[in-house]
Symmetry: C2
Subunit: 167 residues, 2 copies
Amino acid sequence: MRGRAGSDVAAEALQLLAADRASLAVAESLTGGLVAAALTSVPGASRTFRGSVTAYATELKREVLGVNAALLDARGAVDPLVAEEMAQGVRVRLGAMWGLATTGVAGPEPQDGNPVGTVFTAVAGPRGTKVTSLHLDGDRAAIREATVAAALELLVDALQEARKHSS
Amino acid sequence: MRGRAGSDVAAEALQLLAADRASLAVAESLTGGLVAAALTSVPGASRTFRGSVTAYATELKREVLGVNAALLDARGAVDPLVAEEMAQGVRVRLGAMWGLATTGVAGPEPQDGNPVGTVFTAVAGPRGTKVTSLHLDGDRAAIREATVAAALELLVDALQEARKHSS
């Protein structure tokens, strides 16, 4: 991670999306709305940001985002494949070109055997899906903020990579 | 409004929900994830907070939350009845006892003929739906923060009112 604030990365992501006439949808678990809030803090976000789902209850990951039920039963909500399916699901269900997702353990308690700070972020786009695994330090607020920045950096990297392939 | 920070009101709302063994879902427009973020900043929020939908694109208010299409066509997204239907829709679709919603104009530009600072918040519960109309001053960030606090105060008032009727 490059250590930039989430709001700065959000502005860069929105600029790249607007330049590509692309759209974005977000699926959040441990960040609980903070990724969407960072994006919508930027005036004009509505040009490219369609919306988000905070699927805090595990069954909403299945019911609202379409994450595979057997996967959730077998692996729990904190899993790289769950992050990928959240990004793919919100992309399709909210009708966006790009989907971005977060899942992990913000604390203070471990979850499903995963220690606090275990985090997965995923981005789904026209050419496929990419997931990153993070092990973050700090308290609940710090872990949530670092996840927001990491997810938005993952999106920026994917948008820049897509531009290289299309140019 | 009593001027409390959103995070303080969020903690009180979650305490009241937990004491009633109740659950909550949130539908956001201008606040763009901030109401959900305030609630999930509190450790243990997952006991009562099921999740949220940020329906930033107007058509997602119809497609994801079930707001009436003719109402949206006739009145636009910034309307008290739209706020009511967002609260009712997210309550049903995310399977919660209570639904809370925000819609309005954070700026910097007016929307659908409504000046910056025009805001509606609604709460839907087992005994019906209540909506409040606000005219807020300040910049985009201030209007969004004041809306978060007002929405959560509306929820706290509704939870306290429901307790009077059940006791």
